[in-house]
């Protein structure tokens, strides 16, 4: 089993005590073993426990006996035997002497031989398929969205319970309980670790994309907490996106999603001030944007578009690409972006898309045109608690010179925001206005 390092290195690796690349490789091995065992056993808890024990044994056996020729297969065979042993004990079947010997650690040479046979068997079945089975199962619609996110990050990305809890600002026991309940539902309701029928696969892949994008979004624009950007989640989401792309190379939206995440992530170095306050797109120092990441994102978007199966992620990626390739905010192709938002509204209608379209229209056709787009959303009252709506509204009101109305809107934006960094920035702007009555520089929604 190889550690995947396709494409440029992720913009940020997780720091670890043992060294960054080692930890990623470890997690990939672990999740690969879990995936194979889950498929064979149909029990995620058992797979997890057996994998854990196999790795613990490796930590003892390999320094002592030397690393095996095929480490991945060694780990999988060992975990497989541990799992079998658990099952036998559960069923109170008395193990024969042979079975007992089998389940103990064998001399390295015997183990290597069995491992080779095992690996050949597994290759015939398709080891990569196990990863697809696992991620598609973790993203089964019968599980709640939050359960799907937790399962995917735990068993497909290999994050620990503590890491996931901290990333989502939840107490660890809460996250642990969520995982326990989810695994129980998988077992009790009979969710199998199988690829769905071809007719259903497309829908399940879409569900998986949604989970990955949710993780990315959470990292990109943290809804709570003090930091605006939680880089770890973005890196994990990109890693998951790469893996999904390896598994479903012909799915245009999978490639589109990866392109979108990379193009957004490339802006990360310029999005925050030293004190954590967010910097709007209009003011970001584009020289800090990662050009290599942008180049990869643009290339992937081209690949996706070649497949001639348009969709929302590809459209969003196209918008992000236009931003990424523009020298500055003013010189951006706003007309094209406005058209793309209109296309996005057709593919995936939502008030949020309309807000972004309003901003783009205002840049292409002037602030009054943008206000016209916002009117129906404001009137509906549906998004009264959505800060970006009020930010967009406030900005446009400033640009047409309606300062008082704008101040009201900025205040509503502040009231609607829970993220500490964004609150601080909005509070500063409201205070600055009321003190000297002058509107501040353009604060754009799009970041």
């Amino acid at each position: 089993m190889s550690a995947s390092t396709d494409g440029p290195v992720e913009p940020t690796e997780r720091p670890s005590a043992s060294g960054e690349p080692i930890e990623r490789a470890f997690r990939e091995e672990w999740t690969a073993v879990v995936a194979t065992l889950a498929r064979r056993q149909g029990d995620l808890q058992l797979a997890e426990d057996a994998a854990q024990e196999a790795f613990a044994r490796a930590a003892v056996a390999w320094p002592r006996d030397g690393a095996p020729a095929k480490p991945g297969a060694w780990l999988t065979v060992t975990a497989w035997r541990i799992a079998l042993n658990h099952l036998r004990h559960d069923q109170f079947v008395v193990a024969s002497a042979d079975d007992l010997a089998e389940s103990q650690a064998l001399p390295t040479s015997d183990h290597d031989e069995v491992a080779t046979q095992f690996e050949e068997q597994e290759e015939a079945l398709g080891m990569e398929d196990d990863r697809l089975r696992l991620i598609v199962t973790c993203c089964h619609p019968a599980l709640s969205l939050e359960a799907r996110v937790a399962l995917t990050l735990r068993y497909v990305a290999g994050l620990t319970t503590r890491e996931i809890a901290s990333a989502f600002l939840l107490p660890e026991p809460t996250l642990a309980q969520r995982l326990v309940r989810a695994k129980r539902k998988i077992r009790q309701a009979g969710i199998r670790f199988e690829l769905p029928a071809p007719a259903d696969l497309a829908m399940r892949i879409a569900g998986t994309q949604r989970v990955i994008y949710l993780v990315f979004n959470e990292g990109y624009s943290a809804s709570g907490g003090e930091q605006l950007v939680r880089v770890d989640l973005c890196a994990e989401a990109i890693w998951l996106g790469r893996m999904l792309r390896r598994l479903t190379p012909d799915d245009a939206e999978t490639t589109g999603l990866l392109a979108l995440m990379l193009l957004l992530h490339a802006r990360t170095p310029s999005r925050q001030r030293a004190d954590g306050r967010p910097i709007p797109l209009a003011e970001q120092d584009r020289s800090q944007w990662r050009q290599d990441v942008i180049a990869e994102g643009v290339a992937l978007l081209d690949d996706a578009l070649q497949l001639r199966a348009p969709g929302p992620y590809q459209t969003q990626a196209a918008i992000a690409a236009l931003h990424a390739q523009a020298p500055n905010f003013a010189a951006t192709d706003w007309l094209q972006i406005a058209l793309l938002y209109r296309q996005l509204a057709r593919l995936s209608p939502s008030p949020v898309v309309e807000i972004n379209r309003a901003v783009a229209v205002s840049m292409a056709d002037g602030p009054r045109a943008g206000l016209a787009v916002l009117e129906p959303i404001l009137a509906s009252g549906l998004l009264n608690d959505y800060a970006p709506l009020h930010i967009a509204h406030a900005d446009l009101l400033d640009r047409v010179g309606e300062v008082d109305a704008a101040t009201v809107a900025w205040t509503r934006a502040l009231a609607a925001t829970e993220n500490g960094a964004l609150r601080a920035e909005l509070a500063r702007r409201v205070a600055a206005r009321t003190s000297n009555g002058q509107p501040d520089a353009t604060m754009d929604n799009a970041q």
Partner: protein, 131 residues
Amino acid sequence: MRYALLIYTSAEAETEANAAMSGGALVGHNDEHGAWVAYTRALKDAGALIALERLQSVETATSVRLRGDERLVTDGPFIETKEQLLGFYLIEAPDLDAALDWAARMPHARNGVVEVRPVEPQLPLAQIVAE
């Protein structure tokens, strides 16, 4: 694995479904009755059908509660909601996805909600039934 397909419906849809499931003489409902027959036959032919019952309408329900020594009998279902239990199918299916497929094929699924829940396997109490 055995699954219960619990059929929930609103009162208006229930009246229509009642007629359709029982093959009533209401005009225009023969097609729908036919759909239920076809669905049930498909389950039977696939060896998946264990049982099915249609409950009579919610107006016929009576609820019983015990509070201390007192038996409280009230008119009506357990809980007054817009959606009520119409009936159920008990089926055999290899996994949840197969059970969900059957639920989606049910004629009712278009108008209401079908809840799919696994049945507790090998319940000692249930084994008394077969004695």
